[in-house]
Amino acid sequence: MATATPHHAPPPGGNQTTTPKTSAPSRAGDRIFRGLSRGSGITLLVIMAAIAVFLTYRAVLAISKNEGDFLTTSEWNPAGNPPVFGIAVLAFGTIVSSIIAMVIAVPIAIGIALFISHYAPRRLASPLAYVVDLLAAVPSIIYGLWGAIFLVPYLGGLNRWLDQYMGWTYVFDKSGEGVARNLFTVGVLLAIMILPIITNVTREVFLQVPRMHEEAALALGATRWETIRMSVLPFGRSGIISASMLGLGRALGETMAVAVVLSPSFLISGHILDPGGGTFAQNIAAKFNEANEFGRDALIASGLVLFVITLLVNGAARWIIGRRKEYSGANA
């Protein structure tokens, strides 16, 4: 706590002049550096390709022996005879819990980011930003323990309340007694876990809103909220979206916290307050230890699907960031 260093965004376009650009690498140092960085880039591509090849190879081994439809079966029994497994439940659970997490986390993250960048006095802003960043440093198993021991009992009341007053929505209808080890609780936990990345990136974007825009709005007599609505939010929109996508990427892949909190079952149910469901990562964590070799291949096949989904989500985030480079959140 005491080591909190003041954390300011550097003023844009501060001292660019000190690093003049050289057009051609002529000196030895330049050539070595160029070779090193190119080598690093290639290594990264090779690693990614190796992961993809490994996952695809093992996945093909498993899927070729699968007696069920890999995409639509809601059962996981690769050790059975015949082996039957499918990812329907896992895909559903992963997406639903991530959606819940996003619905909770994005508004809160935008609120925190706005507060830090525009409302809070500076003495409060930087410690608060630091504390939010600290959330990212907590290991996910700790979130899992906290979730299972603290959050689950406390969300029981909220679950009953939602069931009683929002039960007509079908989604919040709870079909029986039971502790809150459900997709909703997982969503709440994931929301807390993805808060720092969304807050951080969004805050950086908000801080880079050109002063002129804000001053112009203020000069026209806008209140602070109107200024934010007219200049900050439109300017930061793509930043918010890309930050959310990065957060979504984390939510999709969260393993241990979900494995500890969720009460999984291979049923697709729209009632998010009932125990049940499952996510890709949770299922891998739960089944890997006792699985035989074929079972592991099946889990790897499900991992490939998660790999592809996460790549797509992160790719989309990078693409949105890249479209408007001038206020990239990538340096956050």
């Binding site: 080591t3 021991i149 009992p153 039971g178 080890r181 494995a259 230890n289």
Partner: protein
């Protein structure tokens, strides 16, 4: 600026001091707890024969026997200089996979090798095959939390109905009939099972499908929970914690988890005169009713889940050590034999009850003791 930095450093140092201090203190704490236990065990381990045992012995498998293995390894290493036994508790499935890949000298497993696994093992065991040696037994306790109700009695059929979500209230007539004179609350039953795959789940499943065949029609071999409904938690400790925290909960785990968190356990009405409590001794009595179904040196057991013997607790788990009968690796064979000789010995079995496990009944233990020296 400089001044500011110094205070920051000082604060960091203070923080580090507090953290490391706490670490040192906790380290002391756990040491103190362990030592009286440890010294007792090592003095007991006096006549372990280490003939030719040397180097490292790798093993992997069942988590259920991990605590027993830890005790054995400690005693064995204390008695035999320069020997290191390394048992990785990665689960029975993983243990068998590693054994069949030739990565470990023996595997620990909650269930005997399947036929295809035996066939596969012939690649590793040159001229022989993998055999099952029963080594540790233990009761699977049914823990419950129901305020105001002590000594709950259930039978196999009722248990199956509860875990199948067919009985959903504690004051169900079927439960009331087994517990005359007990005031059962009008409360929903919250049945907990394991969310991960587990030999404990498999053994409960085997028991239910034998002792309550009419009610439990799920695949008895599956390691993941087969029944719809109920709630799940991760690991034995997760189920135990969930049961402890939830009024109206019922769940299953090895006895040691119930004792450790003082959870009440169900007494089983097996048809014997008195309902049977889950204790190591009662589990031993039930294992004594088992028959050896393996042939030759294979000692795979067929457990008698329907036993009505007085004081025999039938929800039991027997974990095997799996090794090659012939064709074990030459450099680890002496260590393997010495270690298994110790674990099967009277002394090795006696250690078990301290850890909450059930020692093997004399008849089976004798057979194991005859087989181990013949390993080659």
């Amino acid at each position: 600026m400089k001044l500011h930095r110094k205070t920051g450093l000082r604060a960091t140092a203070l923080g580090a001091l507090v953290v490391s201090g706490a670490l040192v203190l906790t380290a002391c704490g756990s040491d103190d707890n362990a030592s009286p236990d440890g010294t007792k065990k090592t003095t007991a381990a006096s006549n372990i024969a280490c003939e030719g045992a040397k180097g490292q012995l790798l093993a992997a498998g069942s988590t259920a026997q991990k605590n027993a293995m830890d005790l054995w390894v400690k005693n064995f290493q204390a008695a035999c200089e320069g020997v290191e036994v390394n048992y990785q508790a990665i689960g029975s499935g993983g243990g068998i996979t590693k054994f069949n890949q030739g990565q470990v000298a023996f595997a620990g497993s909650d269930s005997a090798l399947k036929e295809e696994e035996v066939t596969e093992s012939q690649k590793i065991c040159k001229g022989g095959k993998g055999i099952n040696l029963p080594m540790v037994g233990g009761p699977v306790a049914i823990g419950y939390k129901l305020d105001g109700v002590d000594g709950l009695v259930l039978d196999a059929a009722t248990l199956a109905k509860i875990f199948n979500s067919k009985i959903t209230k504690w004051n169900d007539p079927a439960i009331a009939k087994l517990n005359p004179g007990v005031k059962l609350p009008d409360l929903a039953i919250q049945a907990f099972h394991r969310s991960d795959e587990s030999g404990t789940t498999q053994n409960l499943g085997k028991y239910l499908s034998e002792a309550a065949a009419a009610e439990w029609k799920h695949d008895p071999k599956t390691k993941s929970w087969p029944a719809p409904g109920g709630q799940a938690a991760n690991g034995s400790s997760g189920v135990a914690a969930a049961v402890k925290d939830t009024n109206g909960a019922i769940g299953y785990f090895e006895l040691s988890y119930a004792t450790a968190s003082s959870i009440s356990t169900v007494k089983l009405n097996t048809g014997a005169a008195q309902p049977v409590e889950a204790t190591p001794e009662n589990a031993s009595k039930a294992i004594a009713a088992a028959k050896v179904k393996g042939t030759g040196s294979d000692l795979a057991l067929s457990l008698d889940y329907k036993t009505k013997a007085e004081g025999a607790y039938p929800i039991i788990l027997v974990t095997y050590e799996i090794a090659c009968d012939k064709g074990n690796k030459a450099d680890t064979l002496p260590t393997l034999k010495a270690f298994l000789t110790y674990t099967a010995s009277e002394e090795g079995q006696k250690v078990l009850s301290d850890a909450g496990y059930a020692p093997l009944p004399a008849e089976i233990a004798t057979k194991v003791r005859q087989i181990v020296p013949t390993l080659s």
